[in-house]
Symmetry: C2
Subunit: 388 residues, 2 copies
């Protein structure tokens, strides 16, 4: 049954190969001092940095730069950003990068005017922001997280070996996002594939929960089918604009709150993947792919009907004459074949995880209760071991 | 290929059997004088009127009532609304009803502070509003049009025998919409079924255009599959909350701009249906169902691949060993079977249209150019004749 909910997603999207023109349209709505936030500097090589700085200057903005946001942004980096933003009395934050940069900027937006320690407040205590929130805009250069149109922010604390996400409300959503598929064409294949699996995982985390037959389930099946088709094209030819634009659009809708409305969700694959990354800093999508099949095969008996539906509606498994369990397992076998073809990490050992690290990873794993089976620590260790 | 576009949908939705609580949350954002707009008065029988008035009064609002908005709201009624709103210096418009009431209130919102004749300005010349727009909120009591989360407004001029829609920008979208599926349980079956086909037609108008393989196409297939399943439950048991809530949610996403993004669209079925209604005032969804099959069979040769895809992905037609044309036709045959089971109008004669009216209807038909075949007037007459 569709449960009760509210839905509001105010983020304005500019999509397409001329989307950056939207930045000039949006800038006049915000103050003069802009914090320009980016990662390792690839935007300086591909020209995006120059284009963005040109538009900011044409718009009469004063630019303060904050570079070096890492793939798993840390609480230390967050504290650095807070200091820089306060010292420069920033009016507006512009994220130029992938989901990590965007996540980081949202965490920053609720921390600049907040007296508490942001890690403790938002990621340990899960408090909601009470301070004035600095508005964020986003120029997306990497696809996967959906961070451009939601309130999610994942931050890592290496000292505590924790990687934790806080899903903020609509007041923290980016005010606008620039989605130009061309900006994503040149990222390395490993990152592209990792992003594609992040999208798939977002959908599956919301799909594999509940026994209802909601409109959301059908929308998710559509998104998955589109993703599988476009990923198949992009893995052969990463420069295929059509495929990359559909992947970008699917990513946004996979995690902008829509498909979770009115239903329960799981998120255990993300909890496992985030625990792994807190220990070895591996690429997000690859931590998810490395644990997914072991996790899904473990919980399959508790949600067989949905896994069978997945097999038929997403992977075109022919169910006739087969048991529901066989159909369900065949679906995961098809998924496994596809994952291998995509070049995804199929095991934790590929990511450098060794058996002696498992107990630590188990300790870092947040246990969610929305899936078909609430795992205990022993079961988490079992799934991780199966993923080695 | 996904074309360039912007997307922004700021409407806040409150969904579920307690959704009306959202009205009290929203009211403080708007001024004191509320124009309460509704239709024939069924909301007085089912208690919705009393609940809404109670919340308005508790919120300290002054209520001015405007009743009698008809299923195909007229330009005369629009002029009446403008007079009432001006005389009472209205701050906020609350639509309580189905799509007609909601459409009407949006037309009103851009007309109150406008000096021009609204029919001429918005529905003949398709000008955009330059005046201050009076905000609109919506309590939905009938499902189908998607009007609760878009900028569309369809107005009928009986003198000119024209029924025309203007799709306004996001500044005209309802600020919020209250979607309580329970409010829709008691409407007559004829209206429910008509609304269900309106939803299907909205999706198909956007689906049957273009030869691309966009994410939107997959989302639409998901929405159609969900609609067909839930409609099958609702036709047996209109009081099934789960089915009715999924139908309500599908209706919103069928026409809130999402699935049209980055692609072309058709809308000829609506143009034909609206021309019919301008002549005989028939129920909207039924005018669409009466012309759909004749229209789709006529354009099938120009878009065979998409019709075949529709057959397979939506109606589960097995394509093996069949020509694309046969598969495509089989899909429409499945759709016809389903339409008959739903009790939809299968011909224009059922709606009182006679052959001598056809020339007039042809004259009232606006010709769109986004479909697989741009029809000339002779072809329009042919389709209408086939629909008799």
């Amino acid at each position: 049954m569709l449960g009760n909910f509210t839905y509001c997603n105010p983020t304005k999207l500019y999509f397409g190969n001329e989307a950056l023109e939207g930045l000039a349209v949006e800038l006049p709505k915000y103050g003069k001092k802009v914090l320009l936030v980016y990662g390792g500097g690839s935007i300086k090589k591909n020209g995006i940095y120059d284009s963005v700085v040109g538009i900011l200057k044409d718009g009469g903005k004063e630019i303060v730069e904050l570079a070096g946001v890492m793939p798993n942004p840390t609480s230390d980096k967050l504290n650095e950003g807070v200091r820089v933003a306060r010292e420069n009395k920033i009016d507006f934050i512009l994220a130029v990068g992938g989901g990590s940069v965007c996540d980081y900027c949202k965490a920053l937006s609720v921390s600049i005017n907040c007296d508490d320690d942001p890690w403790d407040k938002y990621f340990i205590r899960f408090d909601e922001p009470e301070c004035e929130i600095v508005p964020v805009g986003c120029v997306l250069t990497m696809v996967g997280t959906g961070s451009e149109m939601n309130g999610g922010s994942v931050i890592t604390n290496h000292e505590q070996k924790l990687k934790i996400g806080h899903v903020f409300g609509e007041e923290v959503f980016p005010k606008f996002a620039i989605l130009n598929p061309e900006f994503t064409l040149t990222i390395p294949k490993y990152q592209m594939v990792s992003g594609i699996f992040d999208i798939m995982s977002h959908i599956l985390e919301q799909y594999f929960s509940g026994c209802d037959d909601n409109t959301s389930d059908y929308i998710m099946e559509g998104l998955l089918r589109s993703l599988i088709v476009s990923a198949g094209v992009a893995i052969e030819n990463p420069y295929d604009y059509e495929a990359r634009s559909n992947i970008m659009w699917t990513a946004t809708w996979a995690l902008n709150t829509l498909v979770a409305k009115g239903k329960t969700t799981d998120w255990m694959v993300h909890m496992l993947g985030q625990a792994v990354a807190a220990h070895n800093d591996a690429t997000h999508g690859m931590t998810l792919s490395a644990v997914s099949l072991a996790y899904y095969r473990y919980i399959l008996p508790y949600g067989t009907a949905k896994f069978a539906r997945y097999a038929v509606n997403v992977w075109n498994v022919n169910p006739s004459g087969k048991s529901q369990t066989d159909v369900a397992q065949e679906g995961l076998a098809e998924m496994e074949k596809w994952m291998k073809k995509m070049g995804l990490a199929m095991s934790l050992s590929e990511l450098g995880v060794t058996e002696d690290m498992l107990d630590g990873i188990v300790e870092s794993t947040v246990i969610m209760d929305g899936g078909y089976k609430v795992l205990d620590k022993k079961e988490i260790k079992h799934v991780l071991k199966d993923s080695l």
